[in-house]
């Protein structure tokens, strides 16, 4: 059996991995949903086809993240999920609408098709917003004040922008022609909004959280880490330049916006984790206090060690199968 401390670190690392992979993967397909045009059926078909083979597996990372929280940090899991009871219900509503619309739109009567397309878009929007909102409440330690709800709303908008950004990046990579050029425009716009969002959160967060402030300004390592926000800003600027270039010649480096956005996601997520570590419930519960029974976690670990590499393997395989532009996808 492993020591409790070691297990706490390992499981929080795994949870962090599941969350960031979820944000990137489901982020792009929710983003595509948010961008879905209401009045252009062929474009909508192509856009949805580009995420078709992936969305279900992408969502499974969310199930894994929640599952890991429940398995490894049960007390934190129950505090967080109860505090977020209503936003979670709304998020589930969004996920349900989005997931079923995906299939219904292709199978229901033509008459209902537009409705399902709207459900798809609306579901994606609700999901993105509530996820951001919950993140905001989490950062504010689930405080019930006007300020905290305002902050959460801001964060909700920020996440919408972030998902739109990565969704547009995905479309630039997977599509051609009209959709691609539209995606470049969307990408530029959401790049700007996301930049503002990241700036706002980075300023507000240390101001309101004393703990976060000392993490970033009070220790020796923090000096080493301060360039990180800077790099993040620079990436936003590079992104903008890349998009201008792509607009002129979309055939070169169409994967760049997606890649840059993933880097931005990673940096922001790292910043967030670093701000709160080792707390799972900010200011209340650390990963060491919340840890479940070590012997159960050790049993779980065998599965993790054996299965996670396999999951990564066949996920990569499926991306390889569907490599290339979506037009090339041929179905029956």
């Amino acid at each position: 059996m492993f020591s409790a401390e070691y297990l706490a670190l390992l499981y929080s690392a795994l949870m962090a991995l599941a969350i960031i992979v979820y944000a990137v993967l489901d982020g792009y397909d929710l983003g595509v949903g948010i961008l879905l045009p209401g009045n252009n059926k062929p474009a909508a078909d192509t856009m949805i086809a580009s995420i078709g083979p992936f969305w279900d597996a992408n969502e499974t990372w969310l199930v894994l993240a929640v599952g890991l929280a429940l398995i490894a940090f049960p007390s934190a899991h129950s505090i967080i999920l109860q505090a977020l009871y209503l936003p979670i219900a709304f998020m589930l509503l969004g996920l349900i609408l989005r997931g079923v619309a995906f299939d219904f739109r292709a199978k229901a009567k033509t008459r209902y098709r537009q409705t399902w397309d709207r459900c798809f878009k609306l579901g994606s929007l609700i999901t993105a917003f509530t996820q951001g909102y919950m993140l905001g409440l989490y950062v504010m330690s689930f405080e019930h004040s006007l300020a905290s709800h305002l902050f959460a709303t801001l964060s909700g908008v920020g996440v919408i922008a972030a998902y739109t950004l990565i969704g547009a990046g995905w479309l630039i990579m997977k599509c051609e022609g009209e959709i691609q050029s539209a995606a470049i425009r969307w990408c530029r716009l959401s790049n700007l909004i996301a930049l503002l969002g990241v700036l706002a959160v980075s300023v507000v967060n240390p101001l309101i959280n004393a703990y976060v402030q000392t993490r970033w300004f009070g220790t020796e390592i923090s000096l080493l880490l301060l360039p990180l926000p800077l790099i993040c800003m620079v990436l936003f600027v590079i992104q903008d330049r890349v998009l201008v270039k792509l607009n002129r010649n979309p055939s070169h480096g169409c994967w760049l916006p997606f890649a840059i956005t993933v880097m931005i996601f990673l940096l922001c997520f790292f910043g967030l984790v670093y701000s709160f570590f080792p707390y799972v419930v900010p200011g209340t519960l650390t990963i060491f206090e919340a840890l479940a029974d070590p012997s159960a976690l050790t049993f779980m670990l065998y599965g993790v060690v054996l299965v996670v590499p396999a999951i990564i393997g066949y996920t990569l395989f499926s991306y390889r199968v569907f490599w290339g532009k979506t037009q090339d996808l041929s179905y029956y």
Partner: protein, 447 residues
């Protein structure tokens, strides 16, 4: 009156009842698809591919509903039953975790290849992807039923200050009721899917579909149903014997036995009355219950009065059991008669086709009834004999739970209606299509 506890229970029951409908279909339908695809690979006859293409569309839709309602389930434990995880989390957690790791990722990823990859990978690999999805759905059932069975018949744990700790994982996973429940559930899924396939195929025939594919799927599904339905009765009987051993109070409620009795009769019908602790309007076959459960005409069955205050509410368990077994018997009859007719005359008369259409969703009703027997029969305990439900509830305000409950119920009603309508609409569509198109269409899914 409408407190958080009651609302949480209703909400949990609503969510799981909605969720279970879809896996029940997909677990077995996936195996049907493997069979169709495998036959196509072997024989090269186009009709198998047509059968595959039609049913894979329905599979995709059903799977999507299963996934979204499953995601709701995975949040339920934390939002509505936090106490549950604090106490049994060390055991339930890893079982759920293994389900996510070994089943969900695999099925979700290979589903993409199965639905969209037919032209992108070799036929072999595509059949393999279909097979992996089928294995994945079955593995899901394995883990979740292991957990559920453990709540019914807990073994392999130690209990310290009200918290469960694992002692022996083998005993936990393969707890005494697990094998019965797993096979019974797999058979339930097989029957639900076969009656669905038979019902929709019959509907197409009634709509004058003269293609070969619906006739073929009708034959395959009725063959499967005729094999599985009698097996289900047999396995169900074994399951009942196992329950009799471990949860006698549940069996007493299922059979409506109040006083401990030797030579207890089998009640075909009755109205149990919990106030007066007796039954009204009994229609009974003497000594049969004792005979079934103890294999002796004079065998003893413990009555509910021996478990006062510790036995489940009688009515839902009693009626739920009769509905399930009733449908089980009906399934045996319908499957045998129609399969026999098909064998003799190679077509079915209209009345038999109509009967099959009526039976399309009979598997759902039996499955839900069976689960209500199982779950309500465990009351008032969460973990049989050890943890009571009221110890576990959340402290979310009851108005919030009421709000979300209404939301879920409305959404589920709409989705269920849309699902059923779309199934029949897809079937009608298939009637009009002369031959299946082989061009890409509609958001990248098969037409």
């Amino acid at each position: 009156m409408l407190d958080t506890l009651l609302l949480s229970r209703i909400q949990f029951a609503a969510n799981i009842s909605f969720h279970i409908l879809f896996p029940t279909i997909t677990i077995a339908l996936a195996w049907f698809l493997v069979f169709f695809k495998f036959r196509y690979d072997r024989t090269g006859e186009a009709v198998w591919l047509r059968a595959y293409r039609f049913w894979v569309k329905i599979f995709a839709l059903t799977f999507a509903l299963g996934v979204v309602s499953g995601i709701t389930m995975s949040f339920q434990f934390g939002t509505n039953w936090p106490g549950f995880m604090e106490r049994v989390g060390n055991i339930a957690g890893p079982l759920l975790g293994y389900e996510v790791l070994t089943a969900f990722f695999m099925e979700a990823t290979f589903l993409g290849i199965m639905l969209f990859g037919m032209k992108r990978v070799s036929p072999r690999l595509h059949t393999f992807a279909t097979l992996i999805v089928a294995i994945g759905t079955t593995l899901s059932a394995f883990w979740i039923l292991s957990l559920n069975s453990w709540l019914q018949t807990p073994t392999g744990y130690t209990l310290v200050d009200g918290v469960f700790y694992p002692k022996d994982w083998f005993e936990i996973i393969f707890n005494p009721s697990f094998g019965y429940r797993f096979f019974h559930m797999l058979l339930a899924s097989g029957l639900t899917a076969s009656f669905l396939v038979a019902g929709i195929s019959a509907y197409r025939l009634l709509k004058e579909d003269h293609k070969h594919a619906p006739k073929l799927t009708l034959k395959v599904s009725l063959t499967v149903a005729a094999l599985l339905a009698p097996m289900q009765m047999f396995v169900g009987d074994l399951h009942g014997l196992n329950t009799f051993e471990h949860q006698p109070q549940k069996v007493a409620a299922m059979e409506g036995v109040w006083e401990t009795e030797q030579g207890a009769p089998l009640l075909l019908f009755a109205i149990p009355d919990e106030q007066q602790r007796t039954n009204h309007f009994e229609i009974a076959i003497p000594k049969l219950a004792s005979l079934i459960l103890t294999h002796e005409a004079e065998g003893e069955i413990k009555g509910l009065n021996e478990f006062k205050g510790e036995h489940p509410p009688v009515k839902p368990v009693f009626f739920g059991f009769r509905i399930m077994v009733g449908i089980g018997v009906l399934m045996i009859l319908v499957a045998l008669v129609t399969r026999y007719t098909l064998w003799k005359h190679s077509t079915l008369p209209t009345w038999q086709l109509k009967a099959l259409v009526v039976m399309t969703f009979s598997g759902w009703i039996a499955t839900l009834a069976g689960w209500y027997v199982t779950e309500i029969g465990r009351q008032p305990f969460m973990v049989s004999g050890l943890v009571k439900i009221e110890e576990l509830v959340t402290n979310v305000p009851s108005e919030h739970v009421l709000l979300t409950l209404i939301g879920y119920l409305t959404l589920y009603a709409v989705l269920l209606a849309a699902y059923i309508k779309t199934l029949f609409y897809t079937a009608r569509n298939a009637v009009q299509v002369e031959e299946y198109q082989t061009t890409p269409v509609q958001g990248g899914q098969y037409v």
